[in-house]
């Protein structure tokens, strides 16, 4: 019965508000009272609407720029024992808005499907994902100067967890090392230079080189941490590789996230990037204990993504898209913009703010928007 009323007002009010009313109104409310409530809300909502011409862009810029001075430059954030180092504070905001190619601390939150999300077998799974280098599954690696060989003894337990056989490692060594013979004898892998003997110096060099050889796991994931979040177990990783992780068996691809904007853009697309910018910027601001309304961050995220590609708030990104020559020139590299404009005979139609400030004319924003002038 009351549903009709909800339906009736869903045209006039955003769904969020309707839902909130639904949730907070007493169950046995009469029709008349509900109507009265809605009438009040609509009235209030209308009075809170943005005025046409409001320079919402600048207000958003202010709202994010102003608390910037209060943010700490402290790059790292530790909360408790089991957290990762994440870039936080002002550097992170700059990183996000710049859309820099590689974030300084790429990170993923891998959500899992049952039974992994209950915590069973999660440690092994995490180990499997982690990019493992040879040095991590070694018991010992030594240089036998007498024979001028390298002797490797592997950590069997570790190999078992990773489900890697020593034969596979031998094969990998064989392909990555040129000019060396690799041989397996019971517990040892012996690497011998082919042909003439190698110098000790070279042997040591080779030793360091093979320590860093890729053995198993997902490339780019340098650290894994199984964490309990709510009632679920998730895996937090340092390093990000969405493309591979999303195809893995046992993970929940819907909730898994990465904080690498460029990567998300290529793997998941522009809509995901918008959400990511929104989430990441709000996260940083919340951690700093600052209060910025979500609408401001939303507008920034929208301006960055509206063209279909991610555009950073830089002279190569959003600003370079502006149609006005003078607006671009007043930001950075003015000569470049004026020169190219001159060559192509560009016309600046003075639609935005700075150009009109330069010419001492009314700016087409706020009270300068109405095109009304009075005669003599």
């Amino acid at each position: 019965m009351t549903n009709e009323i909800f339906k009736e007002y869903s045209k006039q009010l955003p769904g969020k508000i309707i839902d909130e009313v639904k949730a907070s109104v007493p169950k046995n409310i009469t029709k008349a009272k509900l109507k009265a409530i809605f009438k009040e809300i609509v009235e209030e909502y209308d009075s809170m609407n943005v005025a046409p011409g409001e320079c919402v862009g600048l207000v958003s810029a202010e709202s994010i720029g102003e608390p910037g001075t209060q943010m700490t430059l402290n790059t790292f954030h530790f909360a408790g024992v089991s957290e990762m180092n994440v870039t936080m504070g002002l550097p992170r905001i700059i990183e996000i808005l710049d859309c820099s190619k590689s974030p300084s601390t790429p990170m993923m939150e891998i959500h899992l499907k049952s039974p992994l999300n209950k915590g069973t077998g999660i440690k092994e799974f995490a180990e499997k994902i982690k990019e493992t280098k040879l040095k991590e599954c070694l018991k010992e690696i030594s240089v036998n100067i007498g024979n001028s060989t390298l002797e490797i003894s592997l950590d069997k337990n570790k190999l078992k967890i990773l489900r890697v056989t020593s034969a596979k490692i031998v094969k990998a060594l064989n392909t990555s090392l040129k000019g060396y013979g690799v041989r397996e004898t019971n517990d040892l892998i012996i690497i011998k230079p082919r042909g003439k003997e190698d110098t000790v110096f070279n042997l040591f060099k080779t030793k360091e080189k093979i320590k860093g050889m890729y053995v198993s796991g997902v490339k780019g994931i340098t650290q894994v941490l199984p964490v309990k979040k709510g009632d679920e177990y998730i895996i937090v990783t340092a390093g990000s590789n969405l493309k591979v992780i999303l195809e893995l068996e046992g993970i929940d691809p819907v909730n898994t996230t990465s904080n690498d904007i460029r990567e998300v853009a290529t793997v998941l697309g522009i809509e995901a990037v918008r959400e990511l910018i929104l989430a990441e910027v709000s996260k940083v601001i919340d951690v700093q204990g600052l209060n910025v309304d979500i609408r401001h961050i939303m507008l920034v995220a929208d301006t960055m993504t509206i063209s279909g590609n991610v555009k950073g708030i830089t002279r190569y990104g959003v600003v370079s898209e502006k149609s006005s020559v003078l607006a671009r020139a007043s930001f950075e590299t003015p000569l470049k913009h004026i020169m190219t404009a001159a060559i192509s005979g560009e016309r600046d139609t003075l639609n935005s703010v700075v150009e009109n400030v330069m010419l001492n004319q009314m700016i087409p924003i706020g009270s300068g928007l109405p095109k009304l002038t009075y005669g003599k």
Binding site: K33, I41, A61, T303, V357, M358
Partner: protein, 867 residues
């Protein structure tokens, strides 16, 4: 004064390049000699300061336009270059053109049948992504053409071009002279130009090589006369002098038939001078310098950067009718008032139009003259001519005055002024106040408006601007008044609220204070409340009742005080549930959570229900009430505020000793190799984390202990509890223990080998050697502790110093990127080009500064309807 009517408006600006023909046509003089002045000091004809190029000396008239100094806008001249010179800024374009057109026939190296295809690709790109997309596409086409080696039009073979920076072009090792380059580029037909993004109307390829150079007017490079009477020429004049001199030499050498090598040297020199004339910061060239060694500021440097023409002069404006001085607080002013010193008020004026109704009134201002407040400084005639009012002229002025004239009268109480403090980070940094002319020499403002300006009174200065027209006044009053800026558009809560003493005062007042009736009335009167109808007629009146007098009679509010715990009994005991019913404060303490800026909804609700005007009135009264209460009670904090009983001192000591012991045990187990690492961490990291955890725990416990045992009645504690200033942590640091000093989230690791200071043993991991300060500030720090404190102090100083420019740049970029984004009449959010950014602002069309913390308070509405 100019007429406020709009006469003309610039609709658009087209950019282009001056053609050699046009340069010659618009030039008013040909410059032929590097000399500037003759023996008498008169500008030489055909020199760089030729009076046909404009005048900069008083007394001379311009030969071109006949007007005098300041009226003559200046006129361009030109010089004929003896040999063509490449324009440095077009060299990349010239090279691209050479590479992708035929050396014989000048056509683009694209077969005839494909040209239209390319043109279409470009048009599509422009339609899709605007002019920048087109430029990107052009770039990729040009790079593709570089590899073509046969002309599809005339079948001639193409050569390889290389550029030796900055301006020398080689074709297969052979140097191309600018003459050759020019003749090649001349051959490129107009229709091929468009493929390179060149608009043939605005630009021709051969113009990348200059044959004629415009000489900028004298007015844009004025010389200055030093005190000694010597003339000092502008940097540009110097540079032009070089160009003209070398150019003349080159001419003479060519005419005299000098050897090729000399001519080429001169030619290169001329190229250098012309290049540095345009840009004196070319990477490969040594910058041209003054005799003193400082580089010349040439054209590029004049335009570029923060101090350049665009950002400094065009995008930044300066105003008259402004003032700046130190600010100081005055809580007796209203929130939207500003105290202006009389001296300032006599300099700043407002032009009031004379009508037949106010003529007598304004005549009085003229009569008082400029030296007596409130007088007037100028009379403006209808034709815009200004006449200064002095003691001698004022009689004459009074005679002359009639409707249509304008009197610039001194600033008076109630005038509108815009007040500003840098850095102007948000719109609340410039607000409109009503003027209050006061004695003394500082601007006075109500301390409650410090928060939006981020001002304090440790020597801050602020600026005042007086709007000069009725429109400006109206706009300032409607849009910029303090009362319209109460709610921050950043988070939708009140940004103006009580601070400091006002909070302490209200806290004390509403917390069990009782006053006799006469004292209560006196207090309220001091707070400028005059309506006592709601004051209960009792002999003894509680603080809550006094506070209630200020509230509107039908105000209902439920909220929480600062110490709210959620535990019903506890809250009742501490009186932290704020309940206001029908304008009566029934329970709850008024503290920062309710009165402070950015917190709580009480102020927000007042604005919502009673409007801005009423709210700032109430807020002003609450502020004064708090201050007056403190004045009457007396409020001072001293050293003994942080005294602790011996028993709790012992307890703290024991607790810290225990922590030290535990840490020692941890270190021992680490040394014995018994410590187990956390997953994903090394043993060392684990140890650090465990120690840090243990020490923080100990410090937090001392904090609790201090909070428990300290005398709660002291002023220090009251300030902390009410939220006026300081917090329990500060107090614990003063009385109990300062705690761990951390650098980059870790304990201090220090700059010596394996130790923090040479005072410690190597490898010492104990708390004391890694920056744990066990003493309290009051107890005094040990030398090493003090040093650790200084380390973190320095670190935080650095942090601030590095952060400010970084965040400033981020802000500038954001503002530049988003300044043109606005809400349209159809409620969509678009930028200046019309690109749709959002269909509805913030998805629900709500203006944050009109919401309550970004939301509509649905619950309140439901309650108000169902009650």
């Amino acid at each position: 004064m100019t007429e406020p009517t709009v006469h003309k408006q610039v609709k658009s600006i087209v950019f282009g390049v001056l053609s050699p023909k046009l340069i010659k046509k618009m030039a008013s003089a040909k410059v032929v000699t590097p000399e500037l002045y003759d023996k008498e000091g008169y500008p030489v004809d055909g020199g760089l300061m030729d009076i046909r190029l404009g005048v900069i000396d008083p007394g001379l008239t311009c030969k071109t336009c006949g007007s005098k100094l300041k009226e003559c806008p200046g006129h361009f001249g030109y010089i004929e270059l003896a040999r063509p010179i490449i324009h440095y800024n077009f060299i990349t374009l010239a090279l691209a053109l050479l590479k992708s057109t035929c050396r014989e026939c000048g056509r683009v190296l694209i077969p005839k049948n494909k040209i239209d295809g390319y043109a279409k690709v470009l048009d599509d790109a422009e339609k899709e992504g605007g002019i920048s997309a087109r430029r990107a596409k052009i770039k990729s086409i040009i790079t593709a053409l570089k590899t073509a080696n046969k002309c599809p039009w005339c079948k001639s073979r193409q050569q390889k071009f290389t550029l030796e920076k900055p301006t020398t072009v080689y074709e297969n090792e052979k140097r191309l002279t600018p003459i050759e380059i020019r003749s090649r580029l001349e051959k490129v037909p107009d229709e091929d130009c468009t493929l390179f993004g060149i608009n043939p109307v605005a630009f021709r390829p051969e113009w990348t090589v200059l044959t004629i150079l415009p000489i900028p007017p004298v007015t844009m490079r004025p010389s200055i006369t030093l005190e000694s009477g010597e003339r000092s020429e502008d940097d540009l004049t110097h540079k032009l002098g070089d160009i003209v001199r070398i150019n003349q030499r080159l001419f003479e050498n060519i005419n005299a038939g000098a050897p090729e090598i000399i001519i080429e040297d001169l030619w290169d020199l001329l190229q250098y001078h012309v290049t540095t004339f345009f840009d004196n910061a070319v990477a490969q060239l040594p910058p041209a310098r003054h005799r003193s060694g400082q580089p010349l500021k040439t054209i590029a440097a004049r335009i570029k950067s923060k101090e350049g023409r665009i950002r400094h002069n065009l995008a930044g404006k300066r105003t008259n009718f402004s003032a700046r001085t130190v600010i100081s607080p005055d809580p007796m002013l209203d929130l939207d008032e500003i105290g202006v010193p009389t001296e300032v008020a006599m300099k700043l004026t407002f032009p009031e139009k004379v009508t037949e109704w106010n003529m007598e009134y304004l005549k009085k201002f003229v009569e008082r003259g400029p030296k007596k407040y409130p007088g007037s400084n100028y009379l403006v005639r209808p034709d815009g001519k200004k006449k200064k009012i002095t003691d001698e002229t004022k009689e004459q002025v009074i005679e002359e005055i009639q409707p249509g004239y304008c009197v610039e009268r001194h600033l008076m109480d109630g005038d509108i002024a815009i007040f500003n403090r840098q850095p102007s980070l948000h719109r609340m940094s410039m607000m409109c106040h009503r003027v209050r002319v006061l004695p003394n020499k500082t601007f006075r403002l109500n301390p409650a408006v410090c928060a939006p300006y981020n001002a304090d009174f440790d020597g801050d200065e602020m600026n005042l601007h007086i709007p000069q027209t009725e429109e400006a006044r109206a706009e300032a009053e409607v849009l910029m008044q303090v009362k319209t800026q109460l709610i921050s558009p950043r988070y939708g809560l009140s940004i103006i609220g009580c601070i400091q003493d006002a909070i302490s005062g209200c806290y004390l007042l509403t917390n069990e204070l009782k006053l006799p009736r006469d004292k209560a009335v006196e207090l309220l009167l001091a707070a400028r409340e005059t309506d006592f109808s709601t004051l209960p007629s009792k002999d003894v009146i509680t603080g809550k009742e006094i506070f209630s007098v200020l509230l509107p009679k039908d105000f209902n509010f439920e909220g929480r005080s600062k110490g709210y715990t959620g535990n019903a009994d506890e809250d009742k005991k501490n009186d932290t549930v704020v309940h206001i019913k029908n304008g009566k404060l029934i329970s709850g303490i008024m503290d920062k959570a309710n009165l402070g800026e950015g917190s709580g909804l009480m102020l927000r609700n007042l604005v919502k229900l009673y409007g801005e005007h009423r709210t700032i009135e109430i807020l002003g009264k609450i502020f004064r009430l708090g201050i007056e209460t403190l004045l009457r009670l007396g409020f001072s904090c001293g050293l003994h505020d942080t005294d602790l009983p011996q028993k709790s001192k012992d307890e703290i000591n024991k607790m810290l000793s225990d922590a030290y012991k535990d840490v020692d045990a941890l270190i021992n187990s680490f040394n014995e190799g018994k410590l187990e690492a956390f997953p994903g961490r090394s043993v060392e990291e684990t140890l650090e984390l465990k120690i840090l955890e243990r020490l923080n725990d100990a410090r937090n416990k001392t904090g609790l202990l201090v909070a428990r045992d300290i005398n709660k009645e002291t002023a220090t504690m009251i300030m902390a509890n009410s939220g006026a200033r300081g917090n329990p942590l500060n107090l614990a640091q003063m009385a109990g223990c300062v705690g761990q000093q951390a650098l980059r989230g870790k304990r201090i690791e220090g700059g010596y080998f394996n130790r923090t200071l040479s005072y410690f043993k190597k490898g010492d991991l104990s708390p004391g050697s890694r920056g744990f300060i066990r003493n309290s500030f009051k107890g005094g720090l040990s030398p090493s502790e003090f040093f650790f404190g200084a380390m973190t102090g320095r670190d935080s100083l650095m942090d601030t110093a590095l952060r400010t420019p970084k965040s400033g740049y981020l802000y500038r970029r954001l503002a530049n990127a988003m300044q043109d984004v606005r809400v349209e009449y159809d409620k969509s959010v678009r930028d200046a080009t019309g690109n749709l950014i959002q269909f509805n602002y913030g998805e629900d069309n709500l203006d944050v500064s009109k919401t309550e913390g970004g939301k509509i308070n649905v619950q309140r509405i439901i309650n108000s309807v169902t009650d």
